[in-house]
Symmetry: C2
Subunit: 246 residues, 2 copies
Amino acid sequence: MRLYVAAGLGQGLGIVPTREQTHYLLNVMRLGNGEPLRLFNGRDGEWLGRLDEVTKRSCLIALERQTRPQDSLPDLWLLFAPVKRARLDFIVQKAVEMGAGRILPVLTERTNVARVKEDRLIANAVEAAEQCGLLSVPEVSTPGPLSRLLDTWDEVAPGRRIIFCDEAAAPGGAFSTLEALATSQDNGPGPLAVLIGPEGGFSPAERTRLLERADTVPISLGPRIMRADTAAIAALAAVQLVVGDW
Amino acid sequence: MRLYVAAGLGQGLGIVPTREQTHYLLNVMRLGNGEPLRLFNGRDGEWLGRLDEVTKRSCLIALERQTRPQDSLPDLWLLFAPVKRARLDFIVQKAVEMGAGRILPVLTERTNVARVKEDRLIANAVEAAEQCGLLSVPEVSTPGPLSRLLDTWDEVAPGRRIIFCDEAAAPGGAFSTLEALATSQDNGPGPLAVLIGPEGGFSPAERTRLLERADTVPISLGPRIMRADTAAIAALAAVQLVVGDW
């Protein structure tokens, strides 16, 4: 069992879990004194600790030793249009599993979701990081309009190319997806952001604007229609395979 | 709206939907006479039809014209160890979206699922094929032991190489995943099967047996732990990208 905590981790320290974590450890998992846990906070690596001072409603985690040194997440962003509840949870969880270093929900013209619960996105990212053995939780940005993000791209993401998953792109066009990804680093390596649209696709104005940018790399995800969560995983897999850490 | 039917499709024919389809069309979607539908059966392409003779409990679909000629699914198999209910549904749906031509649930030594409902797997495959615009539903095989499938592999799948997603393979080893996939066709092109293990991984005996086969291509899906459904999508994406139809 792994837990993400905010506190600093170090030899001999005792960590007080949050109320939700305490409930989970004592009431759901029914753990008692001496049970081992692994903790990470994004800064101090992974630590082995043991439950201690367990009462009905409280406990402490006594740290024993560092089990893994801190590493960093891949410098790969996922921009995606929020979809409805269960699939939104999935996109965030899967993005973490696929090694996205930052997750940015973007509202597009055809985004069909009124309100995105930021807390819930973050909770999903934390849970996925705990489960898939990460040492950091990817940052989840506050949802905002895609157009505004593009207006400020050169300041917030200088030199970061956008891998634009373009549903309207013909598969097997002038460049295959593999060639497009492989040549995306030809003008010098640079950080990448994968952009996935809403289930209704991008508007013509959005497509034009994205394709006019010099640093956009349009790719096709093949001839079949995919749900947004599938497309996010598939696109991140393609990027990790060709220019990432696979 | 698209429906998969068993009956032959042709000019001027009237198709009687199944009881479940009739309930869905009339009671869930509340469609009436004249509403357009698209039908496919895996043999006769896609046809435009319209609801006709709608009563409280029955209806007919009158076919007007073929809208797409029949094509064939990619010759790509997915072998996977069944997981628990919701994620099992997901694996089948996602495999269809990713273009698997045949889906084979295989029971491995560490498969932790007692019974797999075949009907449910097939229903998931049909639903995904309807939603993602396919003209065929991939065949879903009866679940059986991986060991028995490997015993008979040369007869049931002659010349088909197994892309073995090996959790124990070090990422960035002697070959990268991209190189392993790209060179998998060096001895002549051949059909492929992607093999995904259960959440507990393959047993040492299973790994040894798979790695001893000449036609096994072991690949790594990177340094992070993935859920089985994520791994299935990611592996199919990698294969479609490098040697498939993207």
